[in-house]
């Protein structure tokens, strides 16, 4: 998606570095199939807040008919990057990715104040790339629960958060346990008949906020017959950087993780975070200029979301314990749209003994979390969330299952606010309940 470095020609009013290609915007034939799938267009009814409109804006910038204006920047960040438009586009246009690249243009073209720049740099370039620092900074949160909020308070300006974000962030923060990274052994051996060896990519949010989920993921994988290698040096996947338009740091992180995981003797690289999975699968494009094609392809071919992986290898159900309850499933955007993993989680759910699966209306419609979007646009996020909750309520299922920490935070908070009966479970937690200890 980004322009080749060795051909630094400027495209219209984009800078040469990290700009959309002309082909990527010319591909849109403006049929509008994306319009009914776009949550922001549903909110505003404004063409410029639709995928077709955003691509047209990018095209106008590329053709020099429009400067990279404040409004273009606004749209780049108002886009949820949920990729529903990519799924709906018969022509193969990837409007979400065009906007992601435009976020990088925003950082290049619209100068920020010194303080905001340095704080943003601190978060994206110092904290996130360094798992130790990150975990230490979150450590006291286990004691105070609120420190995470204080951390956000300190950095709210840099993240440009919305009006009522603080209350929301506070409510969203789950009860924190000790980060998982330090606790997981380097090797968790397979149980029963061994089927292979996987590298587990433990994401930052997972280790910090949902350590119990990833503990279950590793347990389930081992029970399913896989040796699980969890490299302690794993760094952030780079998704937050792409999200904020810092493609340079994202590339550095991607290179590090690529080397780290290719040096492991594993058949697959598995993650239980849809955001990380989508990001890892896009290393191939992100690093196209930095790395040999063969290594990128090798890496790409090994990456699996854990739901996708277990479906592909076939879930061993003989030993599973029944979990007698009803569930519905919310599809994380970065799983169903970015990775096209949609049917597999449903099939896994149906394979767990005792589970009654109830389909959710508009299951693949975004929940309104979308990284920091839910805090930046808190009112809009609430509207997107309400639509989701209404559909959840209609299923009357006992649990809402999903497979991504961002959705997990948002949905759990929303259900609690609305006083609904459902709790949110990652699919691996549910599968963990069905997995015997022995």
């Amino acid at each position: 998606m980004s322009k080749k470095k060795n051909d630094k020609e400027k495209l219209g009013n984009f800078t040469a570095e990290d700009a959309p290609t002309y082909e990527s915007v010319l591909q849109c034939m403006r049929c509008g199939f994306c319009l009914p799938t776009c949550p922001t267009f549903a909110l505003t009814g404004r063409e410029r807040s639709s995928p077709r409109g955003r691509v047209a804006l990018a095209r106008a910038v590329a053709e020099g008919r429009l400067d990279f204006t404040e409004a273009v920047k606004e749209e780049a960040f108002f886009c949820l990057d949920c990729r529903a438009c990519t799924t709906s586009c018969p022509s193969g246009v990837r409007a979400g990715e065009v906007m992601e690249v435009c976020r990088s243009q925003a950082q290049q073209q619209t100068p920020q104040g010194h303080i905001s720049k340095s704080i943003r740099g601190f978060i994206l370039q110092r904290m996130l790339p360094n798992p130790d620092l990150l975990e230490k900074s979150m450590l006291p949160a286990r004691l105070y629960q609120r420190l995470g909020i204080q951390w956000l308070v300190r950095h709210s300006k840099a993240l440009k958060l919305g009006p009522s974000w603080m209350e929301k962030a506070e409510g969203m923060m789950p009860k924190l346990d000790a980060p998982l990274r330090a606790q997981l052994p380097e090797l968790t051996p397979a149980r029963g008949e061994k089927r292979g060896k996987v590298g587990f990519f433990l994401g930052c949010i997972m280790t910090l906020m949902y350590p119990e989920v990833s503990r279950q993921t590793v347990r389930v994988l081992a029970h399913q017959g896989f040796d699980v290698i969890t490299p302690k040096e794993t760094k952030c996947c780079g998704a937050p950087h792409l999200n904020e338009g810092d493609r340079q740091t994202a590339r550095e992180l991607a290179l590090f993780n690529l080397d780290l995981f290719l040096s492991q003797d594993v058949d697959y690289i598995v993650t239980d975070c849809a955001g990380c999975g989508a990001s890892l699968k896009e290393y191939e494009e992100l690093l196209a200029e930095e790395q040999g094609h063969q290594r990128l392809e090798l890496f790409r071919n090994k990456v699996r979301d854990v739901q996708e992986f277990l479906f592909d290898v076939g879930l061993r159900t003989e030993e599973l314990l029944p979990v007698n309850t009803s569930v519905t499933y919310h599809e994380p955007c970065h799983l169903c749209h970015a990775q096209k993993v949609s049917n597999q989680p449903r099939e896994l759910l149906k394979a767990i003994p005792g589970i009654e699966f109830r389909e959710l209306k508009e299951a693949s419609w975004c929940c309104g979390s979308a990284a920091t979007w839910g805090l930046k646009f808190s009112d809009e996020s609430q509207q997107v969330l309400d639509r989701k909750l209404k559909n959840v309520a209609a299923t009357d299922a006992e649990h809402l299952v999903t497979a991504n920490p961002g959705c997990h935070l948002q949905l759990a908070w929303g259900l609690k606010q609305a006083g609904m009966k459902q709790d949110v479970l990652h699919l691996m937690e549910l599968l963990g309940r069905a997995t015997p200890d022995i």
Binding site: Q27, M29, C31, F33, R48, A56, P90, G92
Partner: protein, 463 residues
């Protein structure tokens, strides 16, 4: 640039919410799905009522601003493009279904209701609104009315015109006109309603529509037939009609289209086949059984390579959905997709396919053809690159020659997309100077100042 005073008046009369004038907004409200056309309006109005449309229209008239109505911008002939700038009136926020009348079997809704939303709403009450243009998920009802949109079910159920019972609209002089009603019969004076349907937004702006509903078919059967030669597919269509079987759907896709669609939907369409027909028969179960047998027999007689029956409604729906993506999917392979809308008497289908093949070769183009074969309505689509001037020239020559023959066969230059900007010259060829002159006089009597959707349908004097 719009005069600041006009903007202030608009905001004062219509409210800030309804008036949009930021350059980035204007930039994205000057296109539809027609390739290569783009003009930027000076101001855009998002009305929420007929009264607001009236007010906007009056202000535009007072200040001599051209007005272009717009729905979702899915048109394929440039009908909603503000060719002279001015004011775009965007009706997609007028999206309420006002009433579903189960006693009279009608539905009344605002102009901007999305076609599929109406379909679903009436289906919940056990009723059926048949017109289903390819863009039904996005297109608005008023847009359908103004272009007289067709769709996949046109063969048996007709097009939008066949379902419109009443229209409320605002005339260019600012008055409200109500025409038609819920009465099944109505011969009171000139049939304004019928004149307005298909008028491409040049006579009035529709704000409210009442449509006829029918009971849905009780049963249906869906076939997918593959062919080694597209002309055999054409012959199959003609023979099925000649056997007095009217399927609800008889859609064709050629090899190029099959491959592009399959790239997107991945449902196992036959990439190596020259063409496929998607055929659906529906109605009373006994009739469906009889017609299905007839269709299958004819397909075998003419020499279809393979005939498959959809195993359930879900599979049938996925096939129809795949067909709806044809045009957009063709855009995968080239930056520009020039689409046409030639329609011939159904007995001429095989000849038309042969002609398209011949012209494709003659002008050295890549063409994907799909369309409503049962209606004789084809969409030969040139896959090209607007940056290649020579290729564009050849594409236009291709269509020129194609239309000449289509007209000679008694066909039409537009089955369902309208004339708009793109086909003005072809219309003149089809109906002659006398026909154009009458149409212009009708236009003049509705819109003497020529402010409503100028530059459409007719070649202007001196153009």
């Amino acid at each position: 640039m719009l005069d600041k005073n006009i903007l202030e008046i608009l905001i004062q009369k219509l409210g800030k919410e309804a008036v949009v004038s930021e350059p980035e907004d204007l930039l994205v409200l000057g296109y539809d799905s027609t390739p290569g056309l783009h003009h930027t309006p000076d101001v855009v109005i998002y009305p929420t009522s007929s009264e607001q449309v009236q007010l906007a229209m009056q202000i535009a008239r007072d200040h001599k601003l051209p007005i272009t109505p717009r729905g979702s911008g899915t048109g394929l002939s440039g009908g909603s493009i503000p060719i002279n700038g001015g004011m775009v009136i965007c009706l997609n926020k007028m999206n309420k279904i006002i009433e579903i009348d189960e006693e009279n079997l009608t539905a009344t809704c605002q102009a901007g209701v999305v076609t599929l939303d109406l379909f679903n709403a009436v289906a919940d009450k056990g009723l059926f609104y048949p017109p289903d243009p390819g863009s039904q998920k996005i297109s608005t009802l008023a847009g359908n009315v103004m272009e007289d949109a067709g769709g996949l079910r046109g063969l048996k159920y007709g097009v939008t015109r066949d379902y419109v019972m009443a229209l409320k609209c605002v005339l260019p002089d600012g008055t409200l006109l109500s025409t038609g009603g819920k009465s099944v019969k109505d011969v009171a004076g000139y049939a304004f309603k019928d004149l307005l349907i298909g008028s491409e937004g040049t006579l009035a702006i529709v704000t409210e529509i009442t449509v006829k509903l029918i009971p849905p078919p009780q049963d249906k059967r869906t076939f997918l037939a593959y062919f080694d030669d597209i002309r055999i597919a054409g012959a199959a269509v003609s023979k099925i009609i000649a056997a007095k079987i009217i399927p609800s759907t008889m859609e064709i896709m050629d090899k190029a289209t099959i491959n592009c669609v399959e790239d997107y939907v991945k449902i196992g369409l036959p990439r190596q086949m020259a063409a496929l027909l998607l055929i659906e028969v529906d109605g009373h179960p006994a009739m469906v059984a009889e017609e299905a047998e007839g269709v299958e027999r004819i397909l075998k007689e003419v020499g279809a390579a393979e005939v498959h029956v959809a195993k359930d409604a879900e599979e049938a729906a996925s096939l129809a959905a795949a067909r709806r993506t044809a045009l957009s999917a063709l855009a995968r392979v080239s930056p520009t997709t020039l689409l046409e809308d030639a329609t011939v008497p159904r007995s001429m289908l095989a000849e038309t396919f042969a002609l398209i093949e011949k012209l494709t070769e003659k002008y050295k183009l890549t063409v994907g053809t799909f369309g409503h074969a049962g209606d004789g309505n084809l969409h030969p689509t040139v896959l090209c690159d607007e940056r290649d001037a020579d290729e564009m020239k050849r594409a236009h020559a291709f269509y020129d020659e194609l239309y000449e023959q289509v007209l000679a066969w008694g066909g039409t230059v537009s089955g369902e997309h309208g004339i708009g900007i793109a086909k003005k010259e072809y219309l003149a060829r089809q109906i002659g100077p006398g026909g154009v002159a009458v149409m212009k006089r009708i236009k003049q009597s509705f819109d003497p100042d020529g402010i409503l959707n100028p530059g459409k349908i007719f070649v202007a004097d001196g153009e």
